[in-house]
């Protein structure tokens, strides 16, 4: 099935090609959290919080720290 990027309109022959290409609009591949838009960190944080009863506090904290670290790394680049 042909796949079009909803951000830049580029056409790909399949999902694999799409997922491995950096989008000209977002500047990242579709597998990068930044492709979720400007609120990506908040979206991820809330989704992790909703699942907290089914994981360990350690795993939850590690996942949330990873999100925070990515935010900080992006800020440091600017």
């Amino acid at each position: 099935m042909p796949v079009y990027c909803g951000q830049c309109g580029a056409e790909y022959k399949d999902d694999a090609e799409y997922l491995n290409t950096v989008c000209k609009v977002t500047g990242v591949a579709p597998t990068d959290p930044l492709s979720m838009g400007k609120n990506w960190a908040r979206i991820q944080d809330l989704a992790l919080d909703r699942g907290k009863s089914e994981t360990t506090p350690e795993k939850l904290a590690a996942a949330k720290l990873a999100v925070k670290n990515k935010v900080e790394a992006i800020k440091a680049k600017k």
Binding site: M1, P2, V3, Y4, C5, G6, Q7, D15, Y18, L19, C23, T26, P30, T31, D32, P33, S35, M36, W40, I43, Q44, D45, A47, L48, R50, G51, K52, E54, T55, K59, L60, A62, A63, K64, A66, V67, K70
Partner: protein, 167 residues
């Protein structure tokens, strides 16, 4: 890290996929990211159906994505109705794709909720208790806007997609 999640839309007779859509505008045309002003819906008719899926492109180290909830916020114009296949009970399993139509949908027959449902209303693998444990897609979310004959202008709504993620 955490999962990367996007919304994909499917269109056309041959079914093409538009990944990471930027809006869910309804109109008189079967296309993703459409401009509503270009494709207005005549009063007393229906929009083209929309077939969308929630897509996980990267699990980001998490073990599961599940519990999909879809609803809208805002106010529809006049007596318009917003219908979907999403539902918390009597879920019909994964909808199959068919070329989207602008006649009355046989799949989008349930009123779209106006607040977050108490439990999942869109399935994964045909079940409301389904889970994604690797990258992949949800069941089709089928939606249609029915514009009342007395409606004179459109409305701007927010369509909400919520998922739960297990670290």
């Amino acid at each position: 890290m955490a999962a990367t999640v996007q919304i994909a839309e499917f269109n056309g007779a041959g079914e093409t996929k538009t990944a990471s859509i930027t809006n869910s505008n309804f109109g008189s045309n079967d296309s993703a990211n459409l401009v509503a002003a270009t494709y207005p819906i005549t009063a007393g008719t229906s929009s083209y159906e929309k077939y969308q899926k929630l897509e996980v492109t990267n699990m980001g180290g998490s073990s599961k994505v599940k519990d999909l909830k879809i609803w809208y916020t805002g106010t529809l114009s006049g007596s318009d109705t917003f219908l979907t296949n999403a539902r918390t009970t009597s879920y019909a399993g994964a909808a199959t794709y068919a070329t989207p139509v602008n006649t009355t949908s046989s799949k989008a027959t349930q009123t779209m909720p106006t607040s977050a449902p108490a439990s999942a209303n869109l399935g994964i693998g045909g079940s409301l208790t389904g889970e994604l444990t690797t990258t992949g897609l949800s069941d089709y979310l089928v939606m249609q806007l029915n514009v009342h004959s007395a409606t004179t202008a459109g409305a701007t709504l927010t369509l909400n997609y919520r998922y739960t993620e297990i670290a």
